[in-house]
């Protein structure tokens, strides 16, 4: 049980590659995973986050600090999120969505998922397979059949050699 008076205002988070980060508790508890640890009294020392690397955690903390500094104004929060994600490449976004899922941060999860969806929108099937590390398990005949089934969707898609 957490003692009311002994709750620290700053938490120390440790990434899976052993980097340490200090973050205000008020910002860190945007993560339900961290909030539960704080409420269970497990936040006294260092909080290990075994599924997040240092680079990603640094980015998530930047987001935590940035978004919690904005008062309750959904428009401003949205524009902060848009700006925060605007320069992230696909690999970074994939790391962030995994971190947001592990940390149970629904607002970041929604924003990153939407951003990845936006990036994917006009991309070819080949691009999606490469970026998501998926092997094509269709035979050429099967793939042709799937495309034939919904051929009306293949207009306006970029060609396969883009990246």
């Amino acid at each position: 049980m957490a003692a009311e008076t002994g709750t620290p205002t700053t938490l120390t988070l440790k990434s899976n590659d052993d980097e340490l980060f200090s973050v205000a508790e008020s910002a860190a508890i945007l993560s339900v995973t961290i909030r539960n640890m704080v409420e269970d009294g497990c936040a006294g020392g260092v909080i290990p986050l075994d599924n997040v690397d240092g680079k990603t955690l640094a980015s998530v903390i930047t987001y935590m600090n940035g978004i919690s500094a904005i008062p309750a104004d959904e428009e401003k929060k949205k524009s902060y999120r848009d700006k925060f994600l605007s320069d992230k490449d696909f690999e970074t976004l994939a790391d962030m969505v995994l971190a947001a899922n592990y940390l149970n941060m629904s607002c970041l999860m929604d924003a990153v998922s939407a951003k990845i969806a936006q990036v994917m929108e006009k991309k070819s099937v080949g691009w999606v397979r490469r970026k998501f590390g998926i092997e094509n398990d269709y035979t050429p005949e099967e793939e042709a059949a799937v495309k034939e089934e919904h051929k009306w969707t293949f207009e306006g898609v970029e060609t396969d050699d883009d990246n």
Partner: protein, 385 residues
């Protein structure tokens, strides 16, 4: 270096894509194709997508659209994205669009009025509802409604049969003698008898909102309008009052019940220069009727040389206040709140078989969905379009 994203995250991402891109994603691999057919994906997608529109031309050609980025609507034509289209075939007769709920359409044949279909245009599946008798339309009014239960998510079709007496000269219905109501829950294959509605003339399409169906009905004895409401979950009928000022109206077609922006609305077409839309601010509270939008009827509404009522039915309100409307049953218009101008939306393009420009377009809100009729309703005889 690569970290595979777990399937729950793939659902989060892919369910946010436009329909056509999701279909493209079926080609990525077998796992993704199967994932898109799961109930988890279907539900995630329905909860995230906003309403598009289904339009039907001369009861044969159906087209479905979705909208992008509702906040930037200045160039509205770009925002009507075609999703898919289909056409009635020899198995599914030419049909009237009578309802849309959570991805499924309810269609009623115009050839044999007793033939009813449920169709998902995305999965290209349809089922024909069980036959439930033949009704003489002169002595029996037959009205249908289609919707989805709020809690259980069950799809239901309700049928209101009303034995009536018509005026010998005008053939208008003058009296309702008896009401019989049935419900068909999709997937069960049967029509069940339920407690009937009140003896009020139900003779219009239903409007679904808040887990209930609504009809603008007439009390023929007293000569005034009421709203008949059917709770799809409890299967109980009730009535409430329409907005003030429309108690006694001789012309039945000038008032329309619509669902706009989450409100039950009555669209008043009686005025020559403007359309008044009344909102029921608090659902079910008769005192909360509020004069909401007023749309000026501009010359665009009057285009064409034929003599037809100057009659408008709103379909969707966008975030910026713009409105998509159907003008009579001829075409759709996009009404700009800023400029007060209406622009025609040509969803079907020019057709060679148009007689005197009479296009006969009906349109309603529609959320596209990947819900597979075959896997959801294994008992039904699911056919492909």
């Amino acid at each position: 270096f690569f970290r595979y994203l777990p399937l729950e995250i793939i659902i989060e991402i892919v369910s946010r894509l436009p329909i056509r891109t999701i279909v493209t994603c079926k080609s990525v691999c077998k796992t993704w194709r199967n994932l898109i057919q799961t109930r988890a994906f279907v539900d995630s997608h329905l909860s995230k997508s906003s309403s598009g529109v289904v339009t039907c031309r001369i009861s044969r050609y159906f087209k479905i659209f979705e909208f992008v980025d509702e906040l930037d609507l200045d160039h509205h034509n770009r925002h009507y994205i075609p999703v898919t289209e289909f056409c009635c075939n020899k198995f599914m007769e030419s049909s009237q669009l009578e309802g849309s709920a959570n991805g499924l359409l309810f269609l009623r044949s115009i050839i044999n009025r007793n033939n009813l279909y449920i169709c998902n245009p995305i999965t290209r599946e349809y089922i024909q509802l069980p036959y439930a008798g033949i009704f003489n339309s002169f002595s029996v009014l037959v009205t249908y409604g289609f919707g989805v239960c709020k809690m259980t998510g069950r799809y239901k079709v309700v049928r209101v049969l009303q034995e009536c007496i018509r005026h010998p000269d005008t053939v208008d219905v003058v009296r309702i003698m008896k009401c019989v109501c049935h419900v068909h829950t999709i997937g069960t294959g049967i029509w069940r008898s339920i407690a009937p509605c009140a003896m009020l003339e139900h003779d219009c399409f239903s409007t679904a909102i808040n887990g209930s169906l609504h009809w603008l009905v007439t009390d023929l004895q007293k000569g005034f309008k009421l709203i008949s409401c059917f709770d799809l979950e409890t299967e109980i009928f009730s009535t409430f009052s329409p907005p003030p000022l429309m108690g006694r109206s001789e012309n039945r077609t000038e008032f329309l019940l619509v669902a706009l922006g989450g409100y039950l609305c009555v669209c008043d077409n009686t005025c020559e220069h403007e359309i008044v839309i009344w909102l029921m601010k608090e659902y079910g509270d008769e005192k909360s009727w509020t004069r909401g939008f007023v749309v000026r009827k501009s010359p665009e509404f009057l285009r064409g040389n034929f003599e037809l009522p100057n009659f408008v039915c709103p379909i969707k309100v966008f975030k910026n206040g713009d409105m998509l409307m159907a003008w009579f049953e001829l075409y759709m218009v996009h009404y700009s709140l800023k400029t007060k101008a209406a622009t025609r939306i040509d969803v079907f393009g020019p057709y060679e078989d148009d007689n005197d420009n009479f296009i006969n377009v009906t349109a309603m809100l529609h959320n596209s969905s990947f819900l597979s009729l075959k896997s959801c309703f294994p008992m039904e005889n699911v056919k492909l379009l």
